[in-house]
Each structure stands twice: as C-alpha cells, then as structure tokens.
Symmetry: C2
C-alpha cells in the first residue's frame, strides 16, 4: 500500500507492528487520530510512554504493578495461604473478573517449552518454590493452559514440591457452560466423565 | 473489566477509544507494548505525536501532506487538467493503489448531508469550483460513495459548474469483478444493463 505522506507511513507502520493489526486497520486508526484534537493525540502518546516507563512487576507474584507490590498483593482480606498459579497476566485478569477468587496469584511468565528454548530457569518457578517454603502457602491451584507445555510445567513444579506439605490442585476441566456436548472434543468429554461430580456438589456450585 | 494497575487502565482506555478497538483488544495491545523494549515504545509514542503535530493538509487538493503541497500535486508528469473528486483521503489512497490513474485529486472532506449538519460550506466545494475556473481543469471524475449524500453532492457541484466548459463524469457503477450476479442488488443490476458496454471496449479494458 502506497501512502501519500512519510509521516503517515511511519505512523501506519508503527500501528501495523502491533499484534492483530494489519495495514488497512492501521491506516483507519491513524486517519482517526489525525482528525482528533492535537491535545487528545498528545495525551494518547503520553499515556503509552508513561505506561512503559513506570510500569513495574510485582516483586512477589509477577503481576504488573504501579509500585513494588501489585494491587492484589496489597489488598487486605485476601487469603495469604492460597495461590493461583497462572501463565500470564491475561489469565490473572480473567480470574479476577470472575470475582470468585479471594487468594493471591503467582505469574509464571509462560510455560516450559524446550522447543522454544523456555526452560524452568526462564520462568518464575524458582520464586514460586521460595514462596511456598517461606510464606506458609497451604494450597496451590494450577490454572495453566491445557497444553502439553502447561501439563509439563505442572508436573515439573509438583515434583519440586513433593517434600512440601502444600496441597496442590488444578482448575476443573470439563464441558464449558453454554457448550454443546455434540461439538466438544473427545478428550474433554472423556475427562468430564472421569471427573464427574456428585449432584449435590454440582447444585451447590450454581 | 477490572485491571490491576492504574497505568495499565489508562493505556487500555486510550486504545479502546480508537474506532473498532474493544477493551479486550486494547488490553492485548497494551500487554504487547509492555513486553517491548522501552525504546521501541517511546518510538511508537513519538511517531504518533510527530504525526499529529506536523501533518498538513495540501492547500490545493485537501490530501494529507508533509508540506504545503502534497506528494501527488508535486509529482511531475501528472495530468494537470484531470481531477478525481473523492470524499476522503481513504478513497484517494485506494485509487492511487490501483496505479491506473495519472491525474490529480480533490478531497471534499465528506458529502452533503443536511441531517448531519453538513452543507456545501462545510466541505471543500468552494475550492473545487475555484480550481476548475482558475487551473484550466478539463475533466472532473466524481468518485463519491453511491449514497444519497454522494449523489446530492455530485448534483450540487454539477449545477454550480453548469456554465463552465469542464467535462464531468462519474466512475462506472456495475457488477464488481468476482461478484456473483445472483447476490447483486437490483439497483446495481438494473444500472449494469442500462450502462452496458460494447464488447470491444470491455475487452480493451481488460
């Protein structure tokens, strides 16, 4: 796509480098910005710069934070002995938005994937083991993606913690609410049979 | 959606204000930026600020420009007597990308739409009339959107120019290449019959 201005082209290329944004979408966004008041665009530009300059990683759990500790670690009333282990901040946000979880988190920063050169040392696994040993964690809930990499990571950490009294569980896998049984894959259906729930527990969960 | 950081929330809201970007997409883009090197993000931020500060509108045709005149007006070898009249810069870019047009453009900035409070004075119509009279334009090709507003605009300008010797045409309306006749609307089909082409002209255009 040829563009009639170098400034325009630079901006379109910058947007098109973002994930999921093609050249046409980038052009639409940039033409929108051109039409806005300069102050609004400067604000947009500043917000992004400030974000990158000032955003921190929580030293305890790996969540993004505005200071040394993230807002979840600082929140009073959270169960300090309960940890939900996630791959990335996106899953953390998803669980937070259920408003059903009242423990803390630990963000691994990915899952073990030797083919991509990601071993345990590239992830926040060492800090997790430390937390379990030093903070008196009672229960770990693994909420990793249902992939070979996710399962490998759970297995690795569980082995590292085999001498610790910590309780370890994973989130339930099964047929999603609103999901059609007919279109659910065999693996999920098989697991949903194996891990069937007594009806009274199912009803009390609704 | 609750977010664990004020900085993050500001950035997500800034992106979600762009057209076609929802909160989830905005979050994905912002988390991507957080992972980039600071210099890259500063560059992104600067490119946008520079764009808004320095982008100009071509004083002659209304295209976006890096200086007083746009790159198309400055390009030597363009037919100076031929004007393609478009609503916005997006259509100009689309026609440029066909690499089939060698005249100049005139960007109206929209089409006449009394219901939206857009009359001839809100558009670059006055400058178009002036150009036709002063620059010795020989032909105007209207390439406005096939809407009531577009047609009204063509009619208005054509009336204003009725005493001028300029030739006026509009781009062809018809069945698009790759379009299925069965699914083409009646209006387009009817027009494609009315404005049928002798076969030798059709073949020479391929």
């Amino acid at each position: 796509m040829q563009l009639p201005s170098v400034l325009l082209e630079n901006a379109v290329n910058a947007f098109a480098a973002l994930p999921g944004i093609g050249k046409k979408t980038a052009l639409r966004l940039v033409l929108h910005l051109i039409k806005q008041e300069p102050e609004e665009v400067y604000h947009f530009s500043e917000v992004i710069k400030t974000l990158r300059r000032e955003i921190k990683t929580c030293k305890r759990c790996g969540n993004i934070a505005d200071s040394e500790r993230c807002s979840i670690c600082l929140q009073p009333g959270r169960k300090q002995g309960l940890l939900c282990v996630v791959e990335s901040i996106r899953e953390l946000i998803a669980f937070e938005n259920t408003q059903q979880y009242n423990g803390l988190y630990h963000v691994l920063g990915g899952s073990i994937s030797p083919l991509d050169g990601i071993g345990p040392d590239q992830l926040n696994i060492h800090t997790l083991i430390e937390r379990v040993q030093q903070e008196g964690i009672e229960e770990l809930i693994f909420a990793l993606n249902p992939t070979i990499q996710g399962d490998t990571t759970v297995y690795y950490i569980q082995k590292k913690l085999k001498d610790s009294p910590v309780k370890i569980s994973t989130i339930a896998r099964g047929v999603a609410f609103g999901g059609e049984l007919e279109y659910t894959d065999e693996m999920t259906l098989a697991r949903s049979l194996q891990n069937r729930l007594p009806l009274d527990r199912y009803i009390s969960g609704l």
